[in-house]
């Protein structure tokens, strides 16, 4: 399966296809014009685009009608009203532009997720200005908007959902930031071109039992059971450790956060091999391997992974889990990825 992108459009009307082609050209032009962004990036004037919204166009039509009426009757008050509202619209245009100008895109990360779930692009926006920036919208494509108010001098995190239907790498090439504040007559927008990759692990699925310990002779295996875990020791807390493993009693005695380590079944070792799942097709094999990795990690077992052309030595912990699942995620896609 090829890497999915967030911008796949359903095929439909030829006019829509033409529009899509035009949009693609425009996007390419904009990227070429701006280049890629190094975060943190400030939104400068030359990259903000502004156009009237549909409401703004209706407002313009209203102004035109008012002008006609005022001119026709040579009515000064009607003309003044028209001119006042014209000035108002122009002021609104500037306010709208101001609302996006100078916002800082601090960070954009997308934590890895499993296939068939929804990924989350976490976008951190900063407002160093002295005035609040209400109603800032962020979107990957125009349909799903996330709106946030940025108070003065603060940072705010916005979460954008990214569909992750299949394993692989979702490349988010650009994020659209826009705002129609304050009166909804204009919308100013910009594209932040920053290569964000969302790693999508295979969907963990499969019913095959985990392969038995393959690293030591069967005769030496000790009895495996839930109650058979052996005390191994304490180590400092690391990100990703389960709260269940924390030595809360020690913490209550004002010790630093410590994690109790057990060695299950006297350090049982499992090797998950791609080649051994021969009857299944590739995706099912990867799903099965992902299932095992997740389960083994949850049980605190040590596990290794053997893929054609790749061998991960047995280990455990969040980093190892990620390494293993990432290898499964991109397996067979390296050519597509670059």
């Amino acid at each position: 399966m090829p890497a999915a992108t967030a911008f796949e459009r359903p095929r439909c009307h030829p006019l829509a296809a033409l529009g899509a082609a035009f949009a693609a050209r425009t996007q390419a032009w904009m990227r070429h014009r701006q280049g890629f962004d190094q975060l943190p990036a400030r939104l400068e004037q030359r990259r903000l685009y502004i156009l009237p919204t549909r409401g703004g166009l209706a407002f313009t039509a209203l102004l035109f009608l008012m002008l006609l009426a005022g001119l026709n009757y040579a009515n000064s008050l009607a003309l003044f009203l028209t001119f006042l509202l014209t000035g108002f619209a122009l002021v609104v245009m500037q306010q709208c532009h101001r609302n996006l100008l100078g916002i800082e895109v601090v960070a954009a990360v997308a934590p890895a997720v499993f296939a068939r779930s929804t990924g989350m692009l976490q976008l951190t926006l900063g407002n160093n200005g002295a005035t609040a920036r209400p109603r800032i919208e962020a979107a990957l494509h125009s349909s799903a908007l996330t709106t946030a108010d940025l108070p003065a001098g603060m940072q705010q995190r916005l979460e954008l959902s990214v569909p992750a239907p299949a394993r692989g790498v979702v490349r988010i090439e650009r994020v659209r930031l826009s705002t129609a504040w304050p009166f909804g007559l204009f919308r100013v927008w910009t594209w932040v071109h920053t290569p964000i990759t969302l790693l999508v692990y295979p969907h963990p699925h499969g019913v095959l039992p985990m392969p038995a310990d393959s690293a030591r002779p069967a005769g030496l295996r000790t009895h495996v059971g839930v109650g058979a875990d052996e005390w191994f020791g304490l180590r400092p807390f690391r990100d990703g450790d389960s709260p269940r493993q924390v030595d809360w009693k020690a913490y209550a005695r004002e010790a630093p956060l410590l994690v109790k380590e057990y060695v299950q079944g006297a350090s049982e070792l499992r090797m998950f091999e791609y080649a051994l799942l021969a009857p299944l097709d590739q995706e099912s094999r990867l799903s099965q391997l992902a299932r095992w990795v997740v389960d083994a990690e949850a049980h605190g077992e040590r596990y290794g992974l053997v893929l054609p052309g790749l061998r991960l030595a047995p280990d455990r912990g969040p980093e190892h889990r990620h390494r293993s699942l990432a290898a499964l995620a991109v397996f067979g896609l390296e050519g597509d990825l670059r």
């Binding site: 209706a58 009426a69 040579a74 009515n75 000064s76 009203l81 002021v91 500037q94």
Partner: protein, 668 residues
Amino acid sequence: MSVAAPALAAVPAVPVAPLRPLLWTCAAFSGGVLLHADRVPPWAAGIALILIAWRLLTAYRGGGDPGITARAFLALALVGIVLARFHTLNGLAAGTTLLLLMAGLKLLETRGPRDQFVMVAASLFLLLAACLDRQELLRAPLYGLQAWLSCAALAMIAAPSTSARAAISLAGRSLLLAVPLALLLFVFFPRLPGAFWAIPRNDLALSGLSDTMTPGSIGQLATSYDPAFRVHFLGPLPPSQERYWRGPVLHEFDGQTWRRNAFEVRAPVARQPLGIAYRYREQLEPSRQRWWFALDTPVAAPDTRARLTYDDQVVGTEPLNDPLSFEAVSYTQTRGTQPLEAVAQRQDTELPPSGNPRTRALAESLRASAGTDLAMVQAALDYLRQGGFVYSLEPERLGADAVDDFLFRTRVGFCGHYASAFVVLMRAAGIPARVVTGYLGGEWIPYGGYLLVRQAEAHAWAEVWLEGRGWARVDPTAVVAPERLQRGILDLMPQELSVRGRLLHASPWLAQWLQRWDAANAWWTNYVVRFDYETQLNVLARLGIRSPDARYLGWAFMLALCGWLALIAWHLGRSRRPRRRDPLGRAYARLCRKLARIVPRAPHQGPLDFAAALGARRPEVHAAVLPLLTRYAELRYGPPAPQTRAQDIRAFRQAVQRWSLPRAVRRR
């Protein structure tokens, strides 16, 4: 395959509109309705307000809005009613009424921001209609408020989480910033010399002089303070007894009512002006009628928009829907140089074949004793002077023989009675005579340097044809109430005035302010409401642009526009720092700045973390600064001590101020 849905399917879930934008939309629309409340038929305004209340009720208490069928039916019914009432949908009054009702109906189905936007647009359009309808200075602030309210509603619709105060201040600020551009456009935007698309709009009559006069039927003459017109004299002012402003001249009398003879087209009688030629510029208030009230005898039609009739009236080609001004030259004394035409002779001596027998008898007896026409006029005036006649604005009603009744029974009346009786006497004696209606007098407004003529100064007098003199003005009222010529009618009849009038009369201070207010109104009418092509040229000339070249003006305008845009951008971009940051935070920031030379504080570090980091890297500074950092943490995060807080903070600030890096450290 799909099965037909049951007839009474559940109502599809409609996203409920947030209440606040809806409320503001309703407020903006109500403002638009109220601007027209006294102009559209009361039922229309009532229906619109009921629809608003209905929408709000369904929004607050839930409940269905009427279905599409009901709405369509309602719309058709309302259009039908408007058609039945106005016989047209064209025209300002009918159009406004229709807009009011249809927008009210639209309100019933407003759900999302788009519908609400449409409603605000309708409110703005109602405001435009109000501007087209009336342009009084008093209403200008109302119009401004309505524009403000509508813009605030727009802000609320665009961002429903906005607080009311924020929306109001945002809209107000934006509109204020727009004012310079609006003024610029107002002065420079090219005006059209005439309308390109006429819509009838004279469906509502205003107060003013009518073209008939029935003295007997009026029980009370309205004394209205409203201005009728204003006159700037470009030279000497006529004396107050000469300030007769000519309106409809009435020739035909049927025993009760005097009428114009409207369709007569004749040349004016040739005459020779006497005395001073008065040049003046007159500003007429809209009256929805065609009379242009020129000073007594205008020399010619002032304008192509009006014509001069044979009896010296200036009649406009269009009814006065908007304020209008013209310049004219008039004489107050003339001498006819031609005999009266036979037609006029016959017409202006005509009386109904019967009626008013005692008046006829009186005329005959006076005629018998008087030799000449002039003597006859004098005799009739003497009769009025000596007959015990009383001037009053509240005379009795008169019977069938109105003139007899007045001359021989009631003997109480106002100008119309005297003019009518006098002309009947003259005609009965065979002297051509006619009734002239118009205004007499005018109040001098020193603040604007003009003469203000109010509706209350409406007057009627007579003109008689005297051989060798031509038409001569005779004011029989002046004989009965000579003061009427010298002083305004309002001074003359304090007891006849309304409460408001009496109040004004009693307080010179108030009267003065009233004059100022009128001057402001005159300015408004002259420079704002009537800012047309000519005024524009005048203003440009005053700015030194003698012959406005379109290209040159265009460039100047673009330059001004760019200047304004730059100013706005600068204004919006100016960083408005919060005026009062907390003093504790300021002191802490200062301490951190002092320390930044050796160890800058990372954004994530609290005061104690920062102290620890300092301790790790620069232990010698750590000892010196630790008490301060600890103190800050205490003050910021410790248990509150409201009594001593201000004092503590001050002490901390002073401590920070005194503290400096050890010299040894600084040198390194």
